[in-house]
């Protein structure tokens, strides 16, 4: 048995401890936010927050996760009540196929939450450099992160 805290709920699950967190979130808990992209921690599609930090859930075994609190895309907000980062992505129409967008939103949330001030464009590009997008939505994603910083009340 493995015990996890996911989106504020404690979950006790009968899974092999070597199972990557991603498979548990998707297959055992039915969550759709984190995506399988590479299984190699190269693309970022599977990103979740663990105690506020962006983590590649495809490459963390649940047995080694420890007591960290996991938050997925679903845990940030909903269509009706989106998180400011999600709202910014909607307002900028920052998705094409949208498969990478989970990772973009989660990485941006971790990045913005950890700072007091609005980031420069260069800082946003650096923060997202390990998140891949194939459709070429980058320009809108950068704009969405800038907008999210404003929505979150980050100072200049």
């Amino acid at each position: 048995m493995v015990t996890l805290s996911v989106n504020g709920k404690t979950q006790r699950l009968d899974v092999e401890p070597d199972t990557p967190l991603l498979y548990v979130l998707r297959d055992n808990l039915g969550l759709h936010g984190p995506k399988f992209g590479c299984g190699l921690a190269q693309c970022g599609s599977c990103t979740v927050l663990v105690d506020g930090r962006a983590v590649r859930s495809c490459s963390v075994a649940v047995g080694k996760l420890g007591p960290g609190k996991v938050v997925t895309l679903e845990g940030l907000g909903t269509v009706q009540k989106p998180h400011p980062v999600q709202r910014a992505f909607i307002e900028e129409q920052a998705a094409q196929c949208g498969y990478c967008i989970n990772g973009m939103v989660m990485q941006a949330t971790a990045f913005l939450s950890a700072r007091q001030t609005s980031p420069s464009e260069r800082e946003i590009r650096q923060a997202l450099q390990r998140n891949l997008c194939r459709c070429g939505t980058h320009q809108r994603i950068i704009a969405a992160v800038k907008r999210a910083a404003t929505l979150m009340g980050k100072g200049a």
Partner: protein, 736 residues
Amino acid sequence: MATLETTRREFLLGTGVLVVSFSLTSPARAQGPGQTKPVALDQVDSFLAVHRDGTVTMYTGKVDIGTGIRVALPQMVAEELDVALDKIKLVEGDTALTPDQGPTWGSLSVQIAGVQLRQAAATARKALVDMAVQKLGMPSADLAVKDGVIFVRAEPHRRLSYAELIGEQAFNLKLDPAAPLKNPKDYTIVGQPVPRPDIPGKVTGAHTYMQDFRVPGMLHARVVRPPAIGATLESVDESSIKSIKGATVVRQGSFLAVVAESEWAAVKAAKQLKATWSKWEGLPAPAKLWEHVRNTPVAKDDVAVNQGDPKAAMARAAKTLKATYDFAVHTHGSMGPACAVADVKSGKAEIWSPSQAPHWLRKEVAYTLQMDPKDVHIQYLDGAGCYGRNGHEDATCDAALVSKLTGKPVRVQWSREDEHGWDPKGPPTLVEISGGLDAQGNVIAWDAELWVPKADITEWPRTLAATLAGIPQKEAINPGNIHRNLDPSYPFPNQRAVAHRLATTPFRPSWIRTPGRMQNTYANEVFIDECAAAAGADPVEYRLRYLTDPRGIAVLRAAAGLAKWEPRPSPRRDQTGPIARGRGVAYVKYENARTYVAGVADVEVNRQTGAIRCTRFYVAHDCGLIINSDGVRAQIEGNIIQTVSRTLKEELKWNRSRVTSVDWASYPILTFPDVPEVIMELINRPNDPPWGVGEPAACLPPPAISNAVFDAIGVRLRSVPFTAAKLKTAMATMKA
């Protein structure tokens, strides 16, 4: 049968609230129980159904692979039918319910399918008005239509809604090509940047992708790929996975898979399974690729253009030039590896797939299962963007075959290595161009040759499952219409362009965004730049010497204006530091038949490291009537950024047995720090037909960047990708 319904979503648009709702569920058939909904392309009922509650369901065989047609096509229907956009429900890519409007390819969804839907809506609207004329006893000139209600202009209380006139009944009408279309000046929905309905769900995890879809009792499967492309399976040690609970082997011929109730068990079993395969080393040596291409037997020649007398003109030219351009093998590189679910039982196949071509896939699955296509039902679900025929169709046939062999519903999820290593590839492309200039430097002769594989254009690429399982398949390859745009977009007096269609190509080919049109435009637009440089002319002015098409002239001037282009010949010779800046231009009329695009690339070249950065890319774009301006912008951004990646970084690697670019480390793509800023100007022509947007602008980066590098440092790059190593070699060659 499992069904899936997306929730109703609300969106704020600047002018008010719009509610767009979509359903992926097979809706109640409009024709009543026992009757099959028509899907023929000439029937209004194939495309549209009006319901009693005033909503309208529209049906399209095209699918939204991330391009935004999920809102653009409804905009066209809502506009022409005169119903509010929030009353339209869309059913896409369901082979039982939607007309076969062709695969979602070639930048043709709006241009072909949208125009068909628009004509269906116009036919329906005319029929509804005719019914109202009868029932209200008024001539049509005295009637007006708004939001699905027909009323007497002078007495608005005398009204009939579409729902009252035909709710839940069939039109039983053929599409009328003469049904009057709205005057574009009256458009209120077409042209608007209406937000996409799927984005809120996609950024909150509420959207159901193919990869999220499950059916009860489903097994997870992984296919175990051979260690060499053409290897055959000799033996399998089934006991090698007995430590993994519930995992079992499934095999037909050399098709080898494992299934398990848990996905992770299937992943582990696929990795752990011991199998013996034959040796195979049938790929050409990578270093001798272009030699291999030149030596491949030619199946036939396609003459793209042959006018005047290029040979005689070349003989009298004051100056001649010749250059060879090559373009590497590319993979689609979808962010999400392919996935599909299949439930094959009692002689029927129920399939869920992210394929760009559900109607074609129906035949592929039927072939793989040796069934009648009418017993195969495909429903589309969003996958990761595919940019052409990637692994989706293969994964679907994998799932179908495993389901048939196990008798259970099966989900196949490809690994990253499956997708990079086994999706069909954009073939290696080689172009050679000779040109003759007169004493003033004008092009008087142009002679181009292209070496690319042949295309059995009505055939789908052969599926891996059928090949491995030993199901006989007709020999056929289809990389798409890759000879197009070999003829230059300029009316040179003496020009010839011939595509040598090769009988074979090293990797199973398919189309990848802007297939051939990208590679051919790259060669043409670099070569004309070479001619301009030989003539000492400004590259924009030089192109304008030849262009006679006013729309072509307009986009080229618009791109130059947007970039604040300063006329001068390339290269500039005023830079000495380690970083040299340059700019290059490119222009094309897509397939010399439709969308006009022109672009300017700004680059920075590091002379010491050889690294090239494209910092800014300006695009002017004329696709005729714009349906959704924000959708057009998104597609242009995607075209440019993705193709800058392909131009600067992407190149498939292999050894004699297999692809060795199997992940993002061995097939790197452009990342955020190096993404250019894309700046664009859209030219809207409301009175012209709406043309494609998903591909044309992708023609621009390879030539514009090559031309910009030449402008910066005087070195010509003629081999995509333009890696640092190639640039350093080219610089050394120039010095020598």
